[in-house]
């Protein structure tokens, strides 16, 4: 049979290949030209020298990366990492019980509560960050409330502090934590809890030995979704942080827009990318192996 219709077969194969290439081309070409290529240019720039008037000079150097280990920059990088870890931990602490609460309500309630999580998720990040200025500024809601309750006599200095940045980041990324946690808790088979308790485990033990390990996927997914944007945050420290609480994102922006030191800005940007990509790649390696 096969040899009777070789032409038709190869025709179909050709058409399939043609279709595939047609489907692949626009998106792949777009991403290669406008995403991969630009990132590679930044990588190249990070090894070049800064020009006298802000441009670049085609001289290969490692000095941009050496400068990263300068105390000031190391401090900013350390702060970014610290704030991102703090944000992730806080979102997990608030988000886990919240996701558990939502996932254990009756279905009708569940959808309504989930909608309440999704609305902030879709709301403009800039607007949500700005809202905290109204709460934290010296004549803002928090200070006015505390003063009228006579808890404090002088307004507290809340805005433009690391505290304000931390609150802003936690607030901004909490929905990113709750949604994956919810989906992994919702999928959890609760008869396993009964089984563990029939075997004599108490609530605490059941939680640590059965529930937590089986919802690890949601925990990891949520933590990545929070940590990644938090470490590269730019808007939140810019609006709530003031000049003393800048993060890597602001430093990169400064190098490109103000100092006009593109090679050093490029090196910072590559460092930020490495900080994010390395843990994520390790996670995917590990989760691929366990599957």
């Amino acid at each position: 049979m096969k040899s009777l219709f070789p032409d038709r077969k190869s025709q179909i194969a050709n058409r399939k290949l043609y279709n595939l290439l047609l489907l692949l081309f626009p998106a792949s070409a777009w991403l290669i030209v406008f995403f991969i290529l630009p990132v590679l240019i930044v990588l190249l720039y990070s090894f070049l020298e800064r020009g006298t008037y802000g441009g670049i000079t085609w001289v290969f150097t490692l000095s941009n990366y050496q400068r990263l280990f300068n105390g000031v920059f190391l401090g900013v990088i350390g702060r970014s990492l610290f704030l991102a870890f703090l944000t992730t931990a806080a979102c997990l602490l608030v988000g886990y019980p919240l996701a558990f609460f939502i996932a254990t309500r009756p279905p009708r309630w569940r959808n309504a509560l989930l909608l309440l999580i999704i609305i902030p998720f879709w709301t403009n990040f800039l607007v949500r960050t700005y809202a905290w200025m109204l709460l934290l500024r010296s004549e803002g809601v928090v200070n006015t409330a505390l003063q009228s309750l006579h808890i404090i006599s002088e307004p507290l200095n809340l805005l433009f502090t690391p505290f304000a940045v931390a609150i802003g980041l936690i607030y901004g990324y909490l929905p990113f934590m709750v949604l994956p946690l919810y989906s992994s808790i919702e999928r959890f088979n609760f008869s396993l809890v009964e089984a563990a308790q029939d075997l004599g485990a108490n609530d605490i033990r059941t939680f640590w030995r059965v529930f937590l390990p089986l919802t690890t996927r949601g925990i990891v997914a949520g933590s990545i979704l929070v940590f990644v944007p938090a470490v590269g945050a730019f808007i939140t420290p810019d609006i709530l942080g003031g000049s003393k609480t800048i993060m890597v994102g602001n430093l990169i922006q400064n190098q490109f827009m103000k100092s006009r030191d593109w090679p050093f800005g490029s090196a910072l940007s590559m460092l930020l990318t490495a900080i994010i990509l390395i843990p994520v790649l390790i996670y995917f390696r590990v989760s691929d192996e366990t599957q």
Partner: protein, 285 residues
């Protein structure tokens, strides 16, 4: 005996605590938004004190006074809204078409290099936004210089460069959303259409497309919202005359804190609420 008692105690505390914790978390999520909305109607300029109801801040957005509030550039809210909608519409259309095509390729074909395409798709999601933004800035600056040297034509950053950047981050979201729906679809439906003599194009138009249309629609809505909200990529790829709504709000926050920001923010909140509800409606249908 004491062990069982402890268990019951933990359980009782746990239940109460869970309710309290959830209530506090929802208060945390919504208090700032509520304050923002209330302030947009407050006659007082600075204080947290309520000084009476006013619509002045909304009025100022659409008047000439609003135009001058809106940062150093003379662009008012309407041109910015116009730009935002134009950018969102074009980038959504492109990303939806390209993303759906890519989803079909990944879900319906086995080919070497599929892993590489998946990685290509995954990177814009995981890359820090600021890296995407500055990479595009560096790329366009270099590309425009090369073009100028070769042809003498001077190109500048503007609406097209912003749109290009938005398509970059939107393609991935569209592909992921549409692909999930395609994976659920029974491939035998398409096989049956083939067996009945339909060609690929006809099968796609008559069988596949109607079945994945809700997913395409909700992907498009997501892309549209992401584009409307984007600040970071827009900030680095924008030029003179391509002010968008988030850029306008940012300028107002940084350079002229006035209650008009509360009004414009409230309007943006309303718009996103509308988009969420319509997206959920689409997903249910």
């Amino acid at each position: 005996m004491t062990k069982i008692k402890l268990d019951l105690f933990v359980r009782a505390i746990g239940k109460q605590w869970l309710w309290v914790q959830a209530a506090l978390a929802f208060a945390f999520l919504y208090l700032p938004i509520l304050i923002l909305i209330i302030y947009s109607f407050n006659a007082s300029k600075f204080n947290a004190v309520w000084r009476g109801f006013t619509l002045d801040w909304y009025g100022s957005l659409f008047s000439n006074a609003g135009a001058t509030i809106a940062t150093s550039s003379s662009a008012g809210i309407l041109p910015a809204l116009n730009n935002s909608l134009l950018i969102a519409a074009i980038s959504t259309a492109l990303a939806t078409i390209f993303g759906t095509m890519l989803a079909l390729a990944l879900e319906r074909f086995h080919f070497p290099g599929r892993k590489a395409v998946e990685a290509l798709l995954f990177l814009p999601v995981i890359m820090p936004e600021i890296t995407i933004g500055i990479s595009l800035l560096v790329f366009f600056t270099l590309a425009f210089r090369i073009v100028e040297n070769l042809t003498g034509i001077r190109l500048n950053l503007g609406l097209p460069t912003v749109i290009i950047g938005h398509v970059v981050f939107n393609i991935s979201f569209v592909t992921i959303t549409v692909r999930a729906r395609l994976a659920e679809l029974d491939p035998q439906l398409e096989q049956a259409a083939f067996d009945l003599g339909a060609n690929e194009w006809r099968t796609f138009l008559r069988i596949t497309l109607p079945l994945i249309l809700p997913a395409i629609f909700s992907a498009a809505l997501l892309a549209f919202t992401l584009s409307l909200d984007d600040f970071v990529v827009t900030f680095f790829t924008t030029g003179v005359g391509s002010m968008t709504l988030p850029l306008l709000v940012y300028g107002m926050i940084k350079f002229a804190v006035t209650p008009a920001i509360n009004a414009i923010s409230t309007l943006m909140l309303l718009a996103s609420l509308l988009l969420v509800v319509s997206s959920l409606k689409v997903q249910k249908s």
